[in-house]
């Protein structure tokens, strides 16, 4: 969060990044927001996640990869990556992208409805102006079958490492 003061009508963003760890569990974390807004009382944000192993065998929906890793190619270009979802069950699923890092990536579904036995793709394309540093973001999808649930795909782009060359002795 960049601002510590907000004028009347002003706004700011609060970016929360959470590392899931190795424990397969349901996590719930809280972030307390403190300011001179005493009248509103205790301002608290809640974030939740269900950490799942790979592969996630509790779903009749298989998908791969679980994480999208972008690698910088020659000229600093980044290629589009995709996640493929397969419906291995008997019910129909409806997909919707509900959160993605605007300005850094474009995200698009090849279709919204996934019938049994079919597949769909989530295509993620980095925007042209991409920072050279390490980027860690994610995309969240809402999936509706008999029950509704969410799937989040982490996005990762590492800063290109500079390979050190061996010293060359002159003749």
């Amino acid at each position: 969060m960049k601002k510590t003061e907000l004028a009347i009508g002003d706004s700011t963003k609060l970016e929360i990044s959470y590392y899931t760890g190795s424990a397969v569990t349901r996590e719930r974390k809280y972030v307390q927001v403190i300011s001179n807004d005493i009248a509103s009382g205790y301002n608290r944000l809640e974030v939740t996640a269900e950490v799942k192993p790979k592969p996630d065998t509790m779903l009749t929906l298989s998908y791969s990869p679980y994480i999208l890793e972008f690698v910088e190619e020659k000229g600093g270009r980044l290629k589009e990556k995709k996640v493929e979802f397969r419906n291995i069950g008997k019910e129909e699923y409806r997909f919707q992208i509900i959160d993605y890092p605007k300005g850094l990536f474009e995200a698009k579904l090849s279709r919204e409805i996934l019938k049994p036995g079919e597949k769909l793709e989530l295509k993620v394309k980095p925007e042209k102006r991409f920072p050279p540093d390490t980027v860690k973001k994610s995309i969240t999808l809402k999936v509706k079958g008999k029950k509704e649930f969410r799937i989040t795909i982490p996005l990762k782009k590492e800063k290109p490492s500079v390979a050190s060359l061996p010293s060359v002795k002159g003749k």
């Binding site: 009347i8 990044s17 590392y19 190795s22 001179n36 974030v47 799942k52 969410r150 989040t152």
Partner: protein
């Protein structure tokens, strides 16, 4: 008798106007959130997930001392 009546009326007027003064004083900064919770749903192990909340001052005064603490 007249003076005491004036005193009672004055006190009664102050009593009636007290809520108005309180309301004026209650104006100040007010923080509003785009949402107060976010569910990432199913996420893989050993990875980073991310979400952006928006905070806005919808009050009548500058919001100061804005900071966050993980609980």
């Amino acid at each position: 008798m007249g003076k005491s009546r004036i005193l009672v009326l004055s006190l009664f007027l102050i009593y009636l106007l007290l809520p108005v003064f309180s309301e004026l004083k209650a104006g100040g900064p007010k923080l509003e959130f785009s949402e107060t919770s976010w569910d990432w749903g199913r996420v893989p192990q050993n990875s980073f997930v991310y979400h952006k909340f928006w905070l806005k001052n919808v009050g009548t005064d500058t919001l100061r001392g804005l900071k966050v603490r993980v609980a």
